[in-house]
Each structure stands twice: as C-alpha cells, then as structure tokens.
C-alpha cells in the first residue's frame, strides 16, 4: 500500500501554490462576483498558466497539452478549488468541452475551438438542463429543426452557469421525432447569435451562476454539430465521464479548516474548545472524502468506465462540503452572516457555506448518486 502521490505531484503542487501566492490577490473568492476585476484576475491567471504549460496539463500533447496523468489533473483540481478556482469559468472548457471536441469534433472544429480553450481565452457554457429535464436529462425538449443545410434551435435552457459571460455554448437539442436518448444532438453555438436571450436568476450563489437561456429560432450552420446528428448522448456520456470525479471540494474544506485550526494566528478566528471534537471529526471526514475521490481517480487511471466508485466519492465529498461549511459557521457564530472583505477570512467562509448548499445538487444530485450506488449494490450476486 502507498498513499503518496509522489514527488512529481508534490513539485507540481508547490509550483501551483507559488503561482497562486504571487498572482492571485489575497481575499480572492472566484470570478463570479459583482466586481469585474475578479474575472480579470482569472483571465490573467489562465494566461500565466497557459504560458507555463499548466492550463492544459492533462491534455494530450497532440493538442498542445502537457500529456499529464490523472494525478497531475488531481493536483491541479485540488489546488485550484482550494484557492477559489482562479481559472474562473475555464475549468469546463479545459475539463470536458475541449476533450469532447478532441474526441468528436471535425478537424475544422478542433482548429477553431481548441487553441482558444488551451490559451484560456474562451469561455464556454453548458446547455444541458431544461425546466423539464434536470436529473432526467434525456427528457430534454429543446429542438433543432432542419433549415436549409443548417438548423434552427428552439427551446429553453436553465441553470446555465456563465451564460452571460460565455462566448460559446455546447448545447444539447433534439432532432427528429425520437424520444429519450434518440435524436439528441450536440451543437456548438456562439452566444452572440441572434435569437439567444440570457436572463440571470437571482440566487444565494451570487451573480453568473444561474441563468435561463432562451433560444428563439437561433440559426446555426451544419458545422455547428459536434459529432453525429442524433449521436449527442455519446458526447454527453463522455462529458459526464470527465466530470465523474467532480470538483475537489474537500481541498477547499481542508484549507479553510487549516486556516481556522487552533494555530493562534492573529486576527483569525479559532476553534473553541466545545467544537474541538467536531473539528477533529470534520478533518477526518475531509480525509475520507479525499481518499474516496482518489479511489475514483484510480478507476479512471485504469480506464474503467464510471461506476459506483465515482458516485460514492461524490456523495462523500459533497456531504463533507456541507458538514464543514456548517462547522465553520458554528466557529464564527454571528460573524458567519458577514460577507465581503471585512468578514472573517475576507468572506471565504460565508462564500463557502453558500456554495456548499449547491454541492449536493450541481453536476448530478445526491439522489442520482445514491441511485447509482444502490443499483450497483443490488446488482451484486447474493
């Protein structure tokens, strides 16, 4: 047995932390705030990562990546999330839009779309969920009607993160009369196309996270189709496979617990004695979540298809996120309601609590993960 990630991973982690220390302002809480300067921080940081070959560390070298392994990806994922994702909205393009285009795209699509993603210069959003198709994605009703040699898109997407700031959307729509998985087709759609209307949804997460996207006869050419017409479900499955390990939420949990541990730092709240046992338990839960996530990474490394291992990890990680968020609020007491630069840890804990509430919903609900785990349990031989 060996639970070390190895010297290369340690070196990469140290390098990333040095870059974050030097180039991400203290108190940075991500790109999705009311302050446009925060988005600019991520744009500069992505350019820096790209210049050092670290933005596409996991991409194959054929497409300008570093050819890194799954553990390099894991380290990047952990360090970025721990420090409030200074890549901003880029992680979606890097993690699955780019790889999906590599797998399903035409040569022209690869030439057109991959370099801007690799340079951190393009923001993508994901047009999957609809008012009637959340966990049941195959129920989507947005339609693509043939129009000459192209298509016209009609329908509505919802919960679409970054829609207002994105230049492109990878969008699922239904072609033809088929039901469920039949006919689903993926389109690469410019967000400035005529007929697209983005309506922000006010939420506890803050700006840019939740939007409605209305598609009113949006005209796109034949070159907008990613993969085969009617073959969109394969693309979605690949996208979900890339997302199977999910966000390294445990890393931010551990960083915040570390900042609040009883280290006597000036101007930093500390864990009171009556919460010491809860703090120790939370640290243990964080470790458990991380180890379960590593187990899911191992299945990915082995080339195995996504299975209950990934869902188990996501259940543990997302619940851990909420447990830690609650504990941190207990530590802060009434100061937990404060936000912004003047709040404890520059508002990082208040920000974390709000995001943690979404952890068991975003990218596949807790209930979907439980269903996957139960299905595998009950499929086992007696």
């Amino acid at each position: 047995m060996d639970f070390e990630l190895g010297e290369e991973a340690d070196t990469l982690r140290a390098r990333l932390r040095a870059m974050i220390d030097a180039h991400v302002p203290a108190g940075f809480l991500g790109a999705f705030t009311d302050d446009p300067a925060d988005l600019e921080v991520t744009q500069r940081f992505c350019a820096l990562l790209a210049s050092e070959g670290l933005l596409t560390v996991a991409w194959p070298t054929d497409h300008g990546g570093a050819g890194g392994n799954v553990w390099d990806q894991t380290v990047v994922r952990e360090e970025m999330w721990a420090h409030h994702e200074p890549r901003g909205p880029q992680y979606m393009g890097l993690n699955w839009v780019g790889p999906a285009i590599m797998a399903f795209g035409s040569d022209e699509q690869k030439r057109r779309y991959l370099p801007p993603i690799a340079e951190g210069g393009a923001i993508w959003c994901q047009g999957f969920s609809e008012p009637g198709a959340g966990s049941d994605l195959a129920a989507l009703a947005t339609r693509a009607h043939p129009d000459g040699d192209g298509w016209r898109l009609r329908g509505q997407k919802i919960w679409t993160s970054y829609a207002a700031m994105a230049q492109w959307c990878v969008l699922a729509a239904r072609v033809g009369p088929g039901e469920r998985h039949e006919g689903i087709t993926m389109f690469l759609v410019p967000m400035d196309a005529a007929g697209i209307t983005v309506v922000p949804i006010a939420s506890m997460l803050g700006p840019h996270h939740l939007n409605e996207v209305f598609l009113d006869d949006v005209a796109v050419g034949p070159e907008a189709v990613l993969g085969e017409v009617g073959g969109g479900w394969s693309v979605i499955r690949r996208a979900l496979a890339h997302e199977r390990v999910g966000i390294a939420r445990y890393a931010r949990c551990e960083r915040l617990l570390s900042l609040l541990s009883r280290r006597g730092q000036e101007a930093s709240p500390t864990v009171p004695d009556h919460l010491a046992a809860a703090w120790a338990r939370a640290l243990t839960q964080v470790r458990v979540a991380r180890l379960l996530a590593y187990r899911a990474v191992l299945t990915q490394e082995a080339g195995d298809p996504p299975d209950a291992t990934a869902s188990m990890a996501r259940i543990a990680v997302t619940r851990c996120d909420q447990l830690v968020a609650e504990l941190l609020f207990q530590v802060l007491g009434d100061a937990s309601l404060e936000a912004g630069g003047g709040a404890p840890l520059a508002g990082a804990i208040e920000d974390h609590w709000r995001y943690a509430q979404a952890a068991t919903v975003a990218s596949g609900t807790l209930e979907v993960q439980q269903t996957i785990v139960a299905r595998e349990l009950l499929g086992r031989p007696r």
């Binding site: 541990s261 006597g264 120790a280 243990t284 470790r287 458990v288 349990l377």
Partner: protein, 325 residues
C-alpha cells in the same frame, strides 16, 4: 498511489473466511454465549491459521495479514479478541507473549477477559503492565464476555511487556486492528441488510423497490467504503511512520465508532422486527460488537482525544493543521 492490500494479505483473508465458515460463521458466536468454553476452539483455529506467526508491529506484510484477519473476524462476530492475539509479542526464544488489550486505566474492562489467564494491558500515560481477570464475566446481552482485569506487578517475564517506547506503538496497533474488526462487521451488516430487503416483500414488492430503502443502503455502503479507505490509510501510516501515526490511528478509531453508530442502526432498522431476534445474524452482530465500540472508550471521548492529538502533533493532509511547530 496504491490503496490496495497486497495479494498475499487478500489470500490470507480468504483462507480466514473459509476457516471461520467451517465453524458455522456467526454460529460460533451464538454457541459461545451458551458455552463460553467453546471459544477455545476458536483460539485453536486461529492458531492453525498462523496467528502466532504474525508480527504486525515489525512487518508490513504481517500487518496487512493481521488487518484482514481482524476484518474477517468482525464479519462473523468471532468470539475471540483477534486483534489482541495478533499482537502477542514473540520473545527472543520464540515463546509466544500475552494477548494485548488497551484499557481505560480507571477500570481495566476488556472483552473476553476470562479467555486468557494473563494479559498485557496498555493505556494512556504509559500504562504498560500485565493483568489477570477478576470476578465473573458480565454475561449481559451487550457484553456477554466482558470482564475486569486487575493489574499485577509484572507477572513473570513476558515478551513485549514493559519495553520502553513499545507501548504507545502497540496501543496504536491495537486501536487500528480493532477498527479493522469493526470494518468487517459493518461490511457484513450492509450485506445482511441488502439480502433482507431484497427478499422481504411488503406492499406487493421487495423492500429494495422503495427508494428510501435504496438510499439507506447506498448511504450505509458509502460510509463503509469511506471507513475502508481510512483503515488502509492508517495501516500505511503505521507502516511508514509509526512514531507520528498516533493522530491517524485515533482518526481511524474515531471514525470507525461514528460509522458503526450510523451503519449498525440503519442496517438493523432495515431488518424491521426480525433484526432484533437472535436467530437473525444482524442482532448477534450488533450485540457482540458493542464491547469493541465502548472499550476502552466510546465515540465522544475518542473524538476529544483525537482533537488533542491533532493539536499537539498535526494531521497529515493537503494543508497543515494543529499547532505551529
């Protein structure tokens, strides 16, 4: 990164499972309640499996073997303190030492106290001595074999006892192996709950057709999977850096106790009224595991001890924890 136990250890675990099945599995626990002397058969069986050859403290392969042996014992509520037996230190002359027990110094109460005439007992603040059983076993439903020990002044020259610096490490190993036993019991509890809810028909369909039952099973399985990862991690930490693994061992013990509370409760609940009946395995599993969950200390006291250990020694992870050096 390789969290998987070696093939040899897994093979040893499979052999242990077959051996325990030859005793009737959990039937051995039922028999022992009626006739406590039947536990000698279990001790002899463990001897035939080679428990006397194990040296978990000194050898990583041996540690892995001891861990899977404890896990298999937990699966059938084996009526024997397997972890303590696996830690019998062997003397220079090859003589076998005493079974090890970790105790609360205020009351040296251990499971299966009367199974052996002399114990090697360890506790906080360097407590490291020999002890003998006194008085009768509790004989209760939740502690059928629990008895008290009374410390003796080093009762003869027993290998392993009183070795300077040895007791803390040994105490850590005992706690880790006890967690592996708990892991085995919880893993089996989930299997039993799956089997029962799949077979039990209510409202015209199997209980597993109800989403709430499926979610309860999923949650229990995730909890056990997490405990398994932590158990492997602690084993590795003891192997590579035993001197600094105390917080890792306590974290494992604490998490095992917390997990046991939720998993045993939910899996027994899923059995309905039958889960309370001794003819059903989950009842035996829940009852017989209680001493291991309460001795030497329970979940809350362990979590408090863990917090103190992290503050003093730190906690391995992505970021630093505890007091600055």
């Amino acid at each position: 990164m390789n969290p998987v136990l070696d093939r040899d250890a897994l093979d040893f675990g499979a052999a242990a499972r077959r051996a325990f099945a030859s005793l009737g599995g959990i039937a051995a626990a039922r028999r022992a309640e009626v006739d406590p002397t039947s536990r000698q058969t279990v001790v002899e069986l463990l001897g035939s499996l080679g428990i006397d050859d194990l040296d978990p403290v000194g050898n990583a392969d041996s540690a892995a073997a001891a861990a899977v042996l404890c896990e298999e014992a937990g699966r059938v509520a084996l009526p024997c303190p397997v972890g303590g037996l696996a830690l019998c230190a062997t003397g220079d002359d090859g003589s076998r030492g005493l079974p090890v027990a970790v105790v609360d110094p205020d009351r040296s109460r251990v499971d299966h106290a009367h199974l052996f005439p002399v114990w090697h007992v360890l506790g906080p603040d360097g407590l490291d001595t020999t002890a003998r059983p006194v008085g009768p076993a509790l004989g209760t439903r939740l502690g059928p074999f629990v008895g008290d020990l009374r410390a003796t002044d080093h009762d003869g020259d027993h290998p392993g006892t009183g070795r300077v610096g040895h007791s803390t490490a040994l105490r850590g190993w005992w706690l880790a192996l006890s967690a592996w036993t708990i892991l085995g019991a919880l893993d089996r509890a989930v299997e039993l709950a799956i089997a029962h809810t799949r077979d039990r028909i209510q409202f015209g369909k199997a209980l597993t057709d109800f989403q709430t039952v499926r979610f309860a099973l999923a949650d229990a399985a995730v909890a056990v999977a997490g405990l398994r990862e932590l158990a492997g991690y602690a084993l590795w930490r003891l192997d590579v850096d035993a001197d600094h693994a105390w917080p890792d061992v306590l974290a494992l013990r604490s998490h095992a106790l917390d997990t046991a509370r939720t998993v045993l409760r939910s899996t027994q609940q899923l059995h309905g009224a039958s889960g309370l009946c001794d003819e059903v395995d989950i009842s035996i599993l829940v009852r017989h595991l209680q001493p291991l969950l309460r001795l030497p200390s329970g979940a809350e006291a362990t979590a408090v001890e863990l917090a103190g250990a992290i503050e003093r020694h730190g906690f391995d992870g992505l970021f630093a924890h505890g007091r600055l050096p």
